[in-house]
Amino acid sequence: MKVEDEAKFEQEAEHLMEQVHQKYGYDFRGYSRASLYRRIKRFVGNTGIESMEVLQQTVMADSYFFEGFLQEITVNVTEMFRDPSFFLSLRKNVLPILSTYPFIKIWDAGCSTGEELFSLAILLKEEGLLDRTKIYATDVNQKVLRQAKEGIFPAGNIAAYTSGYYASGGQQEFSEYYVSNYGSLKFKSYLIKNVVFYPHNLATDASFNEFHLILCRNVLIYFTHQLQERVFKLFDESMVDLGYLALGKKETLALSVLNSRYQLTDKNNRIYRKAG
């Protein structure tokens, strides 16, 4: 499909999102448009669907097809140790404080296929905290949650992951954490034995627990300011006093009304701490 008329495409895309909301309950009203439209066009291009009309009919008729569509239009691209300086900072500035609690609860919000989750688990293991930490890994997309549970990642990225691991302060042989086979890396399951996975939609669902650390990196960039504000409130309700919030490198709490209640622990890596 070639988009000849941008205005018409946008109208059709909006209509599709409305129907998806009604039928499947996924609400995209709070998503930034440029990125959403681009991914719809990409999906249509990659699947060879001839028109937006056909896309809409197929999405409505086939829930399995819809799941694939959902995976494509919600960005699930992620990598292990993305921004090693962030993980190094977590190790040096945050985990020592968290270690003073007898039991630690962490929320990995928008965990996608689990690369960040396993990176975090490796850090916790090396800092001796893994056994007394419970991680709640959530995502709007159930398909990626199933993948995250598997902990199998393409072996092609191993060089980048290994250097990311050491740049993050890694102290072991990185290869001890996975088994390599059939062009894939299977990460050892003891890393996620204290992880619970479940679907949670930041756009619509409520707070479900209280955490010492919430990670939500490069998820909010897809949301409008209004939806970001909702999510910040949700995080605030879900965080203990003196808890930590970790955002993506280009995300900020600065424009939120909650900003005054948080201090920057690490400005460059966007790690915030809630006031006591």
């Binding site: 448009r33 992620t78 990311g164 960039i221 280009k250």
Partner: protein
């Protein structure tokens, strides 16, 4: 909000830093248009790119943050490891979806997104580079009625990128860096 009539998007890879600096150094601090600059850069490293431009360019240099508006007299620098898109309200969005042409940021992504918003009011400039990224985006700008300029391949440090664009867009203007700079000064 400060107003402006057109937007300049500029892309480059190998040799793109030097080429873009040569163009931008000649622009006054009161330059009336926003300039969005997408350069291929290493993904997981801290970079001095912003400081390099700040030292040599009179325009305000800012690495792009999400939701921030495009501003005249500013060079908006695409951050490492994010795609940059432009929203209808002329603010930036960031995106960490798949690499395009082995790149994130990808020049194609920003060029196409800016063209959707700016249409005829967009000026796309593609500079030196050892990649094909940018050609499809520049063609997209051309098809939406925007103006497309390609650095003269004879002058480019690496000519792959300009040559690939010229092949794809017969209607584009091929110019040396000096003439690109003169052109930008003449339209404002």
């Amino acid at each position: 909000m400060q107003s402006y009539e057109k937007v300049v998007v500029m892309g480059g890879s190998w040799g793109g830093i030097q080429a873009s600096l040569k163009i931008l150094q000649g622009l006054p601090s009161g330059f009336a248009l926003p300039v969005v600059l997408v350069l291929h850069r290493l993904r997981n490293t801290e970079s001095e790119l912003q400081h390099i431009y700040e030292k040599k360019v009179k325009l305000q240099v800012q690495e792009i943050d999400e939701k921030k508006p495009l501003l005249p007299g500013h060079v908006h620098l695409a951050p490492a490891n994010y795609h940059v898109l432009v929203e209808k309200d002329k603010t930036f969005s960031l995106d960490v979806s798949d690499l395009e042409n082995y790149s994130r940021p990808s020049i194609d992504v920003t060029f196409m997104s800016a063209a959707d918003v700016m249409g005829k009011q967009l000026i796309g400039i593609l500079l030196s580079g050892a990649s094909r990224d940018g050609s499809v985006g520049l063609k997209y700008i051309h098809d939406k009625g925007g103006l497309t300029i390609v650095q003269d391949p004879a002058e480019a440090e690496v000519s792959t990128m300009p040559e690939s664009a010229i092949k794809l867009i017969p209607g584009c203007s091929v110019m040396g860096l000096g003439r690109i700079q003169e052109f930008l000064l003449s339209i404002t």
